[in-house]
């Protein structure tokens, strides 16, 4: 993308910008040509950035009051809830913010799956996105341990125990992770340190994610490349800024509804019981956003198998740009893929439901079928579909669908 050289209006601006081109960067971001046919599924990138900032700010502030020691952690969280000015608000925003963060990221990922945003030349954006997702899950997992409730402790125990499945060195790895012979104070303090660190790694990856995006530019609902920027795009500011802002406000209404009226609906009551290494809760369940992976883990009868398949389900997504052989990006023009997309969505939701229930009887059977189907989708269906599918003819350009009647029904606005 070539741009005219930007000259700041003021002399000071020119002096500063020639030494550190922040004004040029700001001008680039504000003028950045964005496809004009983006729909609301594209607003979730902005929403995610907002969520990251909210989590970092509220987390920072919580860290001023939280005590990372097994004898004080639970009490310090209650101290925040009861004594710290607006502590209850900041804590509920942070805890529910994490759920909202994942809700947004899942919508964002499924948007990419539907519109082929992961396809060439956007493979690196996709891979960085997957790394962000993995870091998000690690951060959320460690953060959940910090209140030191029953679920905190036992989730930590179960998940760290997974690593004992590694042949030969497994037990040593687990002891190393724990800093002891069970989850205890050393585990808590190191999780606190890492939980504080990782959001900043995420932030760095987000910068790379956006940078990589700005090279080819955004994908769009029709999935075709921009032919004429002057006709097919709008400057990011103010058009996309205001649209992102509107979507953000709607998102915030849902967020506020949860925080102020049902702040504990997504959490497990057992986490309001202080951690007790002697008593295991009847059902150990992770937070909802980790449930599909939990289902996959427990679907496989062997311990090592479960761990391998669970990680595989994550890493297979990295290869998606190459597994999907279709030349057409957007599912709008791929009627058969569209059906399989929605089946995948239902499959993931089913996996989530299974993850919330004990791995026995019908739950286990359905969980296994759903796990197998998940891999079938990526390993078999995606490659084959690319070759076999009959696609709908693409429009000539983004602007053209607006003009012709037939294409009107296709474009999403």
């Amino acid at each position: 993308m070539s741009e005219k050289k930007f000259i700041p209006k003021s002399k000071f601006g020119q002096w500063f910008d020639s030494r550190l081109p922040l004004l040029t960067l700001s001008h680039h971001l504000s003028d950045y040509p964005t496809p004009k046919n983006l729909n609301y599924w594209w607003t979730f990138g902005g929403i995610l950035t907002f969520c990251l900032i909210v989590q970092i700010v509220t987390g920072l502030v919580l860290a001023m009051h939280y005590v990372a020691h097994v004898d004080h952690a639970f009490e310090s969280v209650e101290h925040i809830m009861r004594d710290v000015n607006y502590g209850w608000l900041i804590r509920y925003v942070h805890a529910n913010g994490s759920s909202m963060f994942f809700l947004a990221v899942y919508i964002h990922i499924f948007r990419a799956l539907f519109y082929g945003s992961y396809k060439s030349p956007r493979e690196i954006i996709w891979i960085i996105g997957m790394l962000i997702y993995i870091l998000m899950m690690a951060t959320a997992f460690m953060g959940y341990v910090l209140p030191w409730g029953q679920m905190s402790f036992w989730a930590a125990t179960v998940i760290t125990n997974l690593f004992s499945a590694i042949p030969l060195i497994g037990e040593s790895v687990v002891t190393w992770l724990w800093g002891g012979y069970a989850v205890d104070n050393p585990t808590l303090t190191r999780f606190y340190s890492l939980h504080y660190l990782m959001p900043f790694l995420i932030f760095g990856l987000v910068v790379l994610h956006i940078w990589a995006l700005h090279i080819p530019g955004n994908n769009n609902p029709v999935g075709i490349d921009i032919k004429k920027p002057s006709k097919d795009t709008v400057p990011f500011s103010p058009y996309i800024v205001v649209k992102d802002l509107y979507a953000l406000i709607i998102f915030l209404i849902i967020f506020a509804g949860i925080v102020f009226f049902v702040p504990n609906i997504l959490s497990h009551p057992d986490n309001y019981i202080k951690a007790n290494p002697m008593v295991t809760p009847t059902h150990i369940v992770p937070e909802w956003y980790l449930l599909p992976f939990y289902a996959i883990l427990r679907a496989v009868p062997s311990k090592l198998g479960g761990v391998v398949v669970m990680f595989a389900s994550l890493f297979i997504l990295m290869f998606l740009p190459w597994l999907d052989t279709s030349k057409i990006r957007s599912a709008v023009f791929r009627p058969l893929y569209k059906i399989f997309f929605w089946i995948l969505v239902i499959d993931v939701i089913i996996l989530g439901y299974i993850g919330a229930n004990p791995p026995e009887g019908l739950y286990l059977l359905v969980g296994r079928i759903a796990t197998i189907y998940y891999f079938v989708h990526f390993i078999l269906i995606m490659p084959i579909l690319g070759f076999k599918e009959k696609t709908i003819p693409l429009p000539i350009s983004i602007s053209d669908p607006v003009l012709s009647n037939q294409a009107r029904t296709i474009s999403n606005r």
Binding site: L89, G257, P269, R413
Partner: protein
């Protein structure tokens, strides 16, 4: 337009799918509890001050001999959003308890009357002592008990009213009681409440059901002292956001109208 409607239908379908499943998995965990119409339920719920004060009396005269509520401070009794005892009353309540403090300049621990800043005293010094005095079972601390149980206030209410004779084929061990609403039906706490067990300071008749209601309300407040503030602020914030959404939506339409016309 048709496309928009189709999309909204798809979203609603997925959403209701999720909601049904979510409800099912939550319901799978809970027994059918007794339900009461709580004043603090719902979007605009508030606490009934009288009920909270009676509930405190129930805690103090009945429950506190076995259950601690150690995250509560005496000053909480006079703060906004709770029983709202007067500052004098709260001070007197605190002073009626003996707090161990120290060490003094001689290096010894000493007893002194409680102050507003003190936390509620505990019946036992630690968990082990509590277990030893109660047949091996620990009477749980009640500071966040309502949030720590599926069903919340209804759970507390149900347990207190749920004592009955076990069915014919149910094997009950020694020192354990049968409770209809306890998961597993075994509970080590005996049936504590009975009609007229205490004299309410405000003259209300102390039936078992009344006491169960009041202690459940009190414990809900103890778990969620910020509930009223939360509801109040939440209502204003959501109203604000809806108005702001409207304004921003109009701004967006105005801005974009120039693009669509091109």
């Amino acid at each position: 337009m048709l496309k928009k409607i189709k999309n909204i239908i798809k979203i609603l379908f997925v959403y209701s799918f999720i909601m049904i499943f979510a409800n099912n998995s939550i319901a799978a965990e809970s027994l059918d509890l007794l339900k009461n119409k709580w004043s603090f339920e719902g979007l605009f719920g508030t606490f009934d001050r009288g009920s909270l004060r009676r509930g405190y009396q129930v805690y103090n005269e009945v429950c506190s001999s076995c259950h601690s509520i150690e995250l509560l401070s005496y000053r909480n009794l006079s703060e906004n959003g709770g029983p709202e005892f007067s500052l004098e009353d709260a001070k007197n309540i605190a002073a009626s308890f003996e707090i161990i403090d120290g060490p003094n300049s001689d290096g010894e621990m000493f007893a002194r009357p409680g102050r507003l800043s003190d936390k509620f005293i505990k019946p036992y010094p630690n968990v082990q002592a509590a277990k030893a005095a109660n047949g091996g079972a620990y009477p749980p601390d009640m500071s966040v008990l309502v949030k720590a149980r599926q069903g919340g206030a209804n759970y507390i209410y149900s347990i207190l009213l749920g004592y009955e004779e076990p069915p014919e084929d149910f094997k009950l061990e020694d020192g354990v009681y049968y409770n209809k609403y306890m998961p597993g039906h075994n509970i080590k706490m005996p049936n504590i409440l009975s009609d007229g067990l205490l004299d309410y300071a405000d003259g209300t008749e102390a039936t078992t059901q009344q006491m169960a209601k009041d202690i459940a309300a009190f414990l809900t407040w103890a778990s969620e002292p910020s509930l009223e503030a939360r509801h109040k602020i939440g209502f204003k914030i959501i109203l604000y956001l809806i108005i702001l959404a409207g304004l921003v939506y109009l701004s967006m339409k105005k801005l974009w109208s120039r693009i669509e016309s091109k």
